[in-house]
Subunit: 202 residues, 3 copies
Amino acid sequence: MTREQQLADTLRALYTQSDEQLRAQYRRSLSFQDGMFDRWERARRLGFGAGASIYNSALVLGEVSVGRETWVGPGTILDGSAAPLVIGEFCSISAGVHLYTHDTLQWALSGGIAAKRSGAVNIGDCVYIGPQSIVVRGVSIGRQCVVAANSFVHHSVEPRTVVAGNPARRVGRVVGEGAEVRVELTSPGERAGLDLPLASHE
Amino acid sequence: MTREQQLADTLRALYTQSDEQLRAQYRRSLSFQDGMFDRWERARRLGFGAGASIYNSALVLGEVSVGRETWVGPGTILDGSAAPLVIGEFCSISAGVHLYTHDTLQWALSGGIAAKRSGAVNIGDCVYIGPQSIVVRGVSIGRQCVVAANSFVHHSVEPRTVVAGNPARRVGRVVGEGAEVRVELTSPGERAGLDLPLASHE
Amino acid sequence: MTREQQLADTLRALYTQSDEQLRAQYRRSLSFQDGMFDRWERARRLGFGAGASIYNSALVLGEVSVGRETWVGPGTILDGSAAPLVIGEFCSISAGVHLYTHDTLQWALSGGIAAKRSGAVNIGDCVYIGPQSIVVRGVSIGRQCVVAANSFVHHSVEPRTVVAGNPARRVGRVVGEGAEVRVELTSPGERAGLDLPLASHE
């Protein structure tokens, strides 16, 4: 048996064992890498705030700052490669969310001649960003905002605002505080688009 | 050479070897973890029905039941963490699909004070859910439905219905059975949105 | 200590070491597999053009051809399993993009009786495809096109065209060449949808 075959066998046994243990203890079955590496340890190593966590499958590029207790889901991209990306505390950065400070549109169109474009991104405290949403260079999102799932955000958002869609538009506001906080829609006609927000937060 | 360097070398040789073998045998080049761990073995271990499969990069949380022959793609999230998630047989759960029984909207807005919200999710038999679509807490999708790619589903769907968009709306129905089954649009105006459905099923 | 525990310990030490090194050298913190395996080496092994790269987390199925200098991001799916998939040079295939030559809609609806549907896909040179966009079987995208983020493309696109949305519609055109290349919107009313294009290209 080669060294590579031995490693493959041990890896498979390790995955089965650790996955069974995770299931027994937390009722979770993760991918190999998300199960093998600790989310809180990585957040500490990256200098995130106390209690923050980030899955192994997330990518963190450049200058990224994250506040305490913020949850960063699997498959996310936090891109501070071209300008600072700042994320507040108690945020839900749901699975598959991409936050970008640059794009390569003109790089591609010009056959590699034109430069990348860039701009800083700021996410306030207590912001919920739904799964698979995308926020682009130059955007600021105020505190206690909601970005519905699958949204595309290319304009800045005032505090306590709810946005949804591609491109994202204002569909409501956040009212109340603490345990009484809730979303209020701007009109009944927009109700269809408003139940959208959601996140994986396990 | 340190133990870590040795492991890195063997891992890279193992990946190259197994990837070349997969390409020669099945014309597929996968990520390290999706190539290393068997999809059918994991499905059996999770108690899924006979012939079901699930990529290693998928996350399975809490109470999740999956019927026979159902295909669960890479990068999917099956979240039964807050309430049961039940998926029927012969379903296509395409790559990047997220099925949620909870959200953390109020958790984030309240700074960690308000509880998560939850609701069971049911997916009937023979349902096609297109890539990167999202289904949220409390939704039931009847048998033989089609959810187009990139959709956001936050209302329940009657059997043999086609839905598309963000938020998802009814755009057609399913007619016929067996090899003659097909999609019928509700109006020509909606034709543009109807060719949508698709899946990776390799 | 078992062999599996030893491997887990060494894997974790290896990840921490190599992640710290990547951060120090390139200001990047990647997932385990995207950090461990070289992007340019995989592209060469898959026969892509000179200077092309592809993250480990990307899936490549069947017959896929990729031109020189093209960048293929993390979490992408290049599906040439049912028909050829051809991608030109200097393209940005952003993170989470799925390009499909088949779908399993009728397979699922028929309970496994009906066949998959298929069609070749062609992407011209110098094309920008934004994050989490989906292109389906039978579609050709001409050279120097822009597909905005989160789009769903199910019709072919003429050269130097900008498309956005779900389903994707024409919202502008590409003018100029080289360092002067830029996007021009078809009308001010569509401006909201036009700033969309972006990509992760690190």
